[in-house]
């Protein structure tokens, strides 16, 4: 919809036209969402596989900006099985976080909107489609059934409230009949669970009195407060040191076993993914380019982007003269090409790559890749 001059210049008139159009689209979507009494049948749905906690199905999340529509997530499908960890990797701006925010419905509104697709959430006896749920209903699920561990423990906590108060707020919202004493007991229990020794003391502290690792533990405790079935961890260790990172990863692994929930683990560190995840989803420019079990992805990476990503990361104990670097850069999200998004940076292009965006090809039951190199009659190319 963005009619742009070659240099990407927009005149005021064009910009106004775009924003008018955007307002029309977003206000319509917002109206749908803000309804107080939406019938349950509208968002009631059926899981494709009852063993999945979450199913993303052809999700499209767009941001309607004044410069044009940014297709942050453009047809993403993957499943999070119950009790498993799914790692999502990709460069910044590839739509990892937007995918998770779509599940939580925490997108920047009204610009950010889910325009197509389903996010099916398995509630045990029934399944809801988050993409169609009104905000009011979602409040009950958010923090209770699905919760999120944010990236920056420094900014995720409110500096003017005590740790105990912030944790109790979650409990209070979702357990209306809990008494004060019960809440305090549960909070202290949570703090102990995430490995805070001085839990009574920390209960009364302010966030600034804690170190980065401790704050991250508090954020994790907050996410676990209501025994969520699905935890989204958005780069939970990126802001931490390696030694603290090791502590936090150990903690998350232990907790997952204890409460048997599913984790969606977003990171750009392949090392962390290899350690934590059962399944890996590789995203590039708003689409899933490859997905499979951790062994499949790390031992037989198929998509050129995955291969490049792995080659560009130095590994301790493996000496290389020069690191591989993927040439070029990510295409402009407002103006995506109509062929494979990775084609301009790919060093393994075939003649067929000129065609439309490649479909998903199954290499095994779990291993899927979107690349023409693996299309039916093509013999499997060697790993570069």
């Amino acid at each position: 919809m963005a009619r742009k001059k070659p240099e990407g210049y927009l005149s005021a008139k064009e910009s106004r036209k775009i924003s008018r159009e955007n307002r029309r689209i977003t206000s319509e979507l917002e109206k749908q969402r803000k309804r107080k009494k939406a019938p349950e049948s509208e968002y009631l749905t059926q899981m494709r596989d009852i063993g999945n906690a979450v199913e993303f199905d052809n999700l499209h999340t767009y941001f309607f900006t004044d410069a044009g529509t940014v297709k942050s997530v453009d047809g993403v499908s993957f499943d999070i099985p119950i009790g498993k960890t799914v790692g999502v990797v990709g460069e910044s701006g590839c739509g990892k976080s937007v995918t998770s925010l779509s599940l939580m419905q925490l997108l920047q509104r009204p610009q950010g909107q889910i325009v197509e697709g389903e996010i099916r959430l398995n509630l045990g006896d029934r399944a809801y489609d988050v993409a169609k749920m009104p905000y009011e209903k979602l409040q009950d699920l958010r923090g209770n059934f699905v919760s999120m561990i944010f990236q920056e423990p420094m900014t995720a906590l409110n500096p003017v409230f005590r740790i105990g108060d912030q944790l109790e707020e979650v409990l209070e919202l979702h357990n209306k009949d809990m008494s004060r004493e019960e809440m305090k007991r549960r909070t202290i229990e949570l703090l102990e669970m995430v490995g805070i020794a001085n839990s009574e003391g920390v209960y009364k502290m302010f966030p600034h009195e804690l170190s980065g690792g401790m704050r991250q533990r508090v954020v994790i405790a907050m996410a676990l407060a209501c025994n969520p079935r699905v935890i989204i961890a958005d780069e939970p260790t990126t802001a931490l040191d390696v030694t603290i990172q090791a502590q936090v990863l150990d903690l998350l692994r232990g907790l997952k076993e204890k409460i048997n929930s599913s984790i969606m683990f977003i990171t750009h560190d392949l090392g962390v993914i290899a350690e934590m995840a059962d399944y890996v989803v590789v995203m590039y420019a708003g689409r899933v380019v490859e997905k499979g079990t951790t062994e499949e992805i790390f031992e037989h990476p198929a998509h050129p982007y995955t291969i490049g990503l792995m080659a560009s990361k130095p590994v301790v104990g493996k000496q290389v003269e020069e690191l591989y670097s993927i040439p070029g850069k990510v295409p402009n999200p407002i103006d995506m090409p109509n062929y494979c998004y990775f084609k301009d940076r790919c060093e393994m292009c075939l003649g067929k790559c000129e065609g439309e965006y490649p479909r998903e090809i199954s290499l095994s039951e779990t291993h899927k890749v979107s690349c023409y190199r693996y299309d039916a009659d093509e013999t499997k190319g060697g790993n570069a």
Binding site: E91, S92, S211, G212, G213, M214, D241, V242, T243, I244, Q245, A246, Q247, L249, D250, H268, D269, L270, G271, V272, I273, A274, E275, T294, E295, F298, G308, L309, M310, S312, K313, P314, V315, V316, G317, Q319, V320, E322, L323, Y324, S325, I326, K329
Partner: protein, 340 residues
């Protein structure tokens, strides 16, 4: 109230050895803690507390450690960027950096440069890129006016920037490109020694590789010496020749990269290396998880500063601070375990 302690300043001065471009001897940098009504100094934050190492010409030394251990302060103190040092020596080409007058220091600045951590905040948003890179060149009069433009073009193309980028502003560039601008700014002065303060930690993996390759490439071309500060151990292993491990203001272990990574000696180094995630799902983990967090540098533990978290702590560690000793040729460690 605790008394403001006088900084003890006992060290054996080193003599200049021409094979080393930089000799750092028992370097200390303390920051005062002000308190009370009249802003009296009530204590010191011992950010750098006796760091000793030598750096050979044309090599890269990696400096690793947790945040808050004094890596950056070490780099800045070597460059005389954070006021006066608190003790020790910094010999650059045999010249004590802190003995120079303001004028002499100014001319030395062209020889030693720094690349800052965050390419988003270290570039002035109001200057065009050409001015950011060229300002210091003009100020120092490195090239004549006639050659200025050509010189700038050469530097920029060396760093992977194009000539037409000169008139653009930093906000028009991506993170990787900005880091290239920072590198070009440092290298425009034709320095011998560059402190790289976490130059790639704010960048994506694929961009990281580009910048690391660029730094290595420039080192070969221009015979540069790097002090590479990073908390990413895999990057440090890739780029460095020697590696120093810091903990709470002390350099606990230092030696050739091969020695440090194949045979870490200090318990902290061992724990640090075992915490690196390996991108191989089948890799066995033999992790030494350090308990607790780094103590406050304002009130460090007595004796060996690491004894509160150390698995091999002995009675002696709590009382007596260990000294640096050479365990293998060129491999130094500060730990009582290796006392003979």
């Amino acid at each position: 109230m605790p008394k403001a302690t006088e900084i003890s300043n006992d060290y054996v001065p080193v003599t200049y050895d021409p094979q080393y471009i930089l000799m750092v001897n028992a370097l200390k940098k303390y920051f005062p803690i002000k308190g009370g009504m009249v802003s009296k100094t009530v204590g010191w934050v011992k950010a750098v507390d006796g760091v000793t190492f030598n750096l050979k010409r044309g090599t890269t030394m990696g400096l690793v450690g947790e945040s808050g251990c004094g890596k950056t302060t070490t780099g800045r103190t070597i460059l005389r960027l954070s006021g006066e040092k608190s003790g020790g020596q910094v010999l650059f080409n045999g010249q004590e950096v802190y003995d120079l007058s303001k004028k002499e220091m100014r001319s030395l600045r062209t020889k030693m440069q720094i690349i800052f951590q965050d390419p988003f905040s270290s570039l002035s948003p109001r200057l065009p890129v050409g001015e950011i890179i060229g300002e210091a060149v003009r100020e120092h009069g490195l090239v004549s006016k006639a050659e200025y433009n050509d010189y700038l073009d050469t530097v920029m193309s060396d760093c992977g920037l194009q000539a037409f980028h000169k008139d653009r502003y930093p906000h028009e560039f991506s993170g990787g490109q900005r880091q290239r601008i920072c590198i070009a700014r440092a290298l425009a002065l034709n320095p011998e020694f560059v402190v790289c303060d976490e130059p790639v930690s704010a960048l994506d993996v694929s961009i990281q590789a580009q910048i690391i390759n660029l730094l290595k490439d420039l080192q070969r071309k221009r015979d540069l010496t790097y002090l590479f500060i990073s908390h990413d151990l895999s990057v440090v292993e890739h780029i460095s020749d020697t590696v120093g491990v810091m903990y709470l203001g002390n350099l606990v272990e230092y030696g050739a990269k091969e020695d440090i990574f194949r045979n870490p000696l200090h318990p902290y180094t061992k724990a640090l290396f075992s915490a690196i995630p390996v991108p191989d799902p089948k890799a066995k983990m033999n992790r030494i998880v350090l308990e607790g967090t780094i103590p406050s540098p304002a009130n460090p533990p007595s004796g060996c500063k690491f004894h509160t978290r150390c698995a091999n702590c002995m009675q002696r560690c709590k009382e007596e601070a260990p000294v640096q000793r050479e365990v293998e040729p060129g491999h130094y460690v500060v730990c009582h375990l290796y006392d003979k």
